[in-house]
């Protein structure tokens, strides 16, 4: 029996919204989502495992989609019963991955289950849990139609960023204390909210959000009070001060967006997080590696939000000195990828577009 390679979706959710979506793997350009048009069909034993897959069945319970690490439970697919699960668990097979990667003949013998039944179940599980490759041309077409570029309101910054903030991307600002990161965040929020009339979510974890300063920035752009009030109303502010609350807030945002709940005029188009390092830094140091895990989780949440919902996200960070796994000297790096670097106060602001995938 040939072993089949599972393409695991990188943390993206398979969920039934208007389109059934699946996340593609990095080998195809790293861009997350694509849409399958057409009615979702239920595939069972006849599923073909190689080449392009038909769309995934939307009959999966929402908590199980996109997660191949899910435990085997009755009702996951037709043919998987409680007794089967009991017997599989007795021989150490608990999750979907375990079942699919094991040798079915051995399992059939050990658990005294029918080989045919196991093969059938495995096919169904593979069809339900694997990700789909996508053609590069389709991906490009889709990106052209779904991506938007948000201007930051500042011409030179726009030029540096190749005409603005791209939705679906995460841009990180880093800099020394007092160099102006919060000001840039505030002015981008003001510009997007006023000039582009889009909703903005500002997650503040340092207490640096001052509404009166935001008002000043908006007043600089328009004199009319009506517009100022509207612009301020489009900016939602959430105060979270530790990592778990921030993760909860991001997951709530994801939930709101996936339910397509219209919040006062439109979906959020820009997410500003000021700053990620404030919540992540208390976890570094000491001998626990939990800090890095939580940081990766936060990064994953931000990227998923950006890619799935077409948000432009802007977290800010400081130069974090990370000792990654003890590989020698401490390194100074931005916390996430593709950062715009702000230098210290003494030099004029030099913006360097740093393209590097840290994760």
């Amino acid at each position: 029996m040939a072993t089949t390679m599972l393409l695991l979706p990188p943390g993206g959710w398979l969920h039934s919204s208007r389109h059934s979506t699946a996340a593609a793997v990095g080998g195809f350009g790293g861009r997350g989502c694509h849409h399958h048009h057409g009615p979702p069909a239920l595939r069972s034993e006849g599923a073909c495992l190689h080449g392009v897959q038909p769309p995934v069945s939307c009959a999966l319970p929402p908590w199980a989609r996109g997660r191949a690490m899910v435990m085997l439970q009755a009702g996951l697919c037709p043919g998987l019963t409680a007794e089967m699960i009991q017997l599989l668990k007795a021989s150490g097979i608990r999750t979907v991955v375990d079942l699919i990667s094991s040798d079915l003949e051995e399992v059939a013998q050990k658990c005294s289950l029918s080989y045919k039944a196991l093969v059938a179940v495995r096919r169904v599980l593979l069809a339900q849990f694997s990700a789909f490759p996508i053609n590069g041309v389709h991906l490009y077409e889709e990106l052209k139609s779904s991506m938007a570029i948000l201007s930051t309101g500042n011409k030179s910054l726009d030029t540096l960023l190749d005409s603005g903030l791209y939705t679906g991307e995460v841009m990180e600002l880093m800099g020394a204390p007092g160099s102006g990161k919060t000001q840039v965040c505030l002015s981008i929020a003001a510009s997007v909210s006023h000039s582009l009339k889009q909703n903005v979510l500002f997650i503040d974890s340092t207490g640096g959000f001052t509404a009166s300063r935001l008002l000043q920035l908006v007043q600089f752009r328009t004199e009319e009070e009506e517009e100022q009030v509207e612009a301020l109303q489009r900016i939602q502010v959430a105060h979270v001060f530790d990592i778990y609350k921030m993760l909860a807030a991001l997951q709530e945002l994801r939930h709101c967006m996936s339910q397509q709940v219209v919040c006062s005029g439109g979906p959020v188009k820009l997410l500003v997080v000021d700053s990620v390092s404030a919540v992540v830094c208390p976890l570094f140091g000491g001998r626990q590696s939990e800090g890095l895990a939580l940081m990766m989780q936060l990064a994953r949440e931000l990227k998923t939000l950006a890619r799935e919902f077409g948000l432009a996200t802007v977290p800010t960070g400081i130069k974090v000195e990370l000792d990654i796994g003890g590989y020698g000297a401490l390194e100074e790096r931005p916390v996430f990828m593709s950062a715009v670097v702000f230098s210290s106060k003494t030099n004029p602001i030099e913006l360097v577009y740093y393209v590097g995938v840290l994760l």
Binding site: P61, W63, A82, V121, F209, Y244, A278, C281, P282, G286
Partner: protein, 408 residues
């Protein structure tokens, strides 16, 4: 026969007949799931729940990945699955249930509620809340009205420049009644260096009360006189809650226990930590631990400031950074600490004159103003009368000049 039955079971339409062939032991049948019943809150990844790392590693090793899977299992099964005691399993489930419940409650009836508020509401709140005045009007101006509530203000300076004086002044000023433009609040003073002198606070408080009395006489209003009845030296001193911490453990404990104290004393509007650098600068071998503790402390302070609507003041020491050819005086505790404070004020000397520079602020410009310290407290600089002889220039500027100047 059994096998045949099972096969028919499997290849059939999947009608489960749980009454047959129920295996003994922990049941692993998934309960019927009502779609949408707190569904999303349960999908939280285990990594995002506040559990101990060892426990989390065991849960992941046993195959659990979301909160919902955990909640379906009872504590006995959980303890058997991952090999922990019953009490631990119960605790873990309680923690997770609390988290999910609070999520669900937040999302409750209104699925859009992210516990956010719009910038407009925040603006109204900010305009309604007051500031803590410093009695030095130029300093108040550059700060935008005084020390702001819900923010952390850090005061750095060389020894002897006036940081503790400013803290004591603010602890008195926060108690000024509202009709005089104050906040009528109370103050918490956490002292790590032992530089708090009650006699000095008494002097400052007396001067403050006299100042208010002068205003009341000038304006002759009803509520001024009423407020002055309760605003006296004894009441001021009795509303400053003083804590003395001798090392960093005590400081950390004090700050982490502060929310409980504040929930009993809800009128507190100022928390002053005099000397946050001192316990962390000596006897600390593990620098990464220091950074971690400091950052955790900063986050705790900002969350206290935000939840209880109070101002947090920290004083910091200075250290020398040695560059290639010169050395500069910079605030202590490193660069990562620089991000902790929202507003940074650096006090320094210029010959005989004390200056305050606003170094970092989200809403005000950088600027430098002079101030001076008198027997009455922190005050503006008055232009010196032309007859004064320049005797001060012979004195060492680092020593506190005992100038008797009459101020209001």
């Amino acid at each position: 026969m059994d096998r045949l039955r099972r096969e028919r079971h499997v290849l059939g339409a999947g009608r489960a007949r749980p009454e047959e062939e129920v295996a003994p032991g922990p049941t692993w049948v998934a309960p019927c799931r009502k779609p949408g019943s707190g569904g999303r809150a349960m999908q939280r990844d285990l990594g995002s729940l506040p559990l101990a790392p060892a426990l989390r590693a065991r849960l992941v090793g046993a195959g659990f990945s979301t909160a919902q899977e955990l909640l379906e299992v009872g504590p006995c099964e959980l303890s058997k699955e991952i090999g922990i005691s019953n009490e631990e399993a119960l605790e873990t489930l309680q923690v997770i249930r609390q988290e999910c419940d609070s999520d669900a409650a937040r999302m409750g009836g209104d699925p859009t509620s992210l516990r956010t508020c719009t910038a407009l509401e925040l603006l109204e709140q900010e305009q309604a809340q007051g500031f803590v005045v410093t009695f030095c009007s130029v300093l108040d101006d550059i700060l935008g009205g005084g020390v702001q509530l819900t923010k952390i203000t850090e005061i750095c300076g060389a020894p002897g420049v006036g940081k503790t004086q400013l803290c004591m002044q603010l602890a008195v000023d926060v108690q000024i009644p509202e009709c005089f433009g104050g906040l009528a609040g109370e103050a918490v003073y956490i002292d790590t260096e032992g530089s708090f002198m009650v006699e000095r606070v008494a002097d400052i408080a007396t001067a403050c009360v006299q100042h208010c009395q002068l205003i009341a006489e000038a304006h002759q209003e009803e509520d001024h006189h009423k407020a002055l009845e309760t605003f006296s030296l004894e009441s001021i001193l009795s509303h400053i809650y003083y804590f003395r911490c001798h090392d960093y453990t005590e400081l950390l404990a004090q700050i982490y226990l502060l929310p409980d104290f504040l929930s009993e004393h809800s009128k507190v509007r100022l928390v002053a930590v005099d000397g946050i650098a001192f316990p962390f600068r000596h006897d600390f071998e593990d620098l990464s631990l220091r950074t971690r503790l400091l950052n955790g402390l900063a986050q705790q302070l900002i969350s206290i400031a935000n939840d209880h609507k109070l101002a947090v003041i920290l004083t910091n020491q200075m250290t020398t950074r040695i560059g290639q050819s010169q050395s500069t005086l910079v605030p202590a505790l490193g660069e990562s600490w620089g991000h902790a404070a929202t507003i940074r004020l650096i006090l320094h000397w210029d010959n005989n004159q004390r200056l305050a520079t606003l170094y970092k602020s989200p809403s005000q410009k950088e600027s430098t103003v002079p101030y001076c310290i008198t027997p009455h407290g922190f005050r503006d600089v008055q232009p010196p009368p032309p007859s004064q002889t320049p005797e001060g220039s012979e004195m060492n500027p680092r020593k506190r000049p005992r100038i008797e100047e009459d101020k209001q």
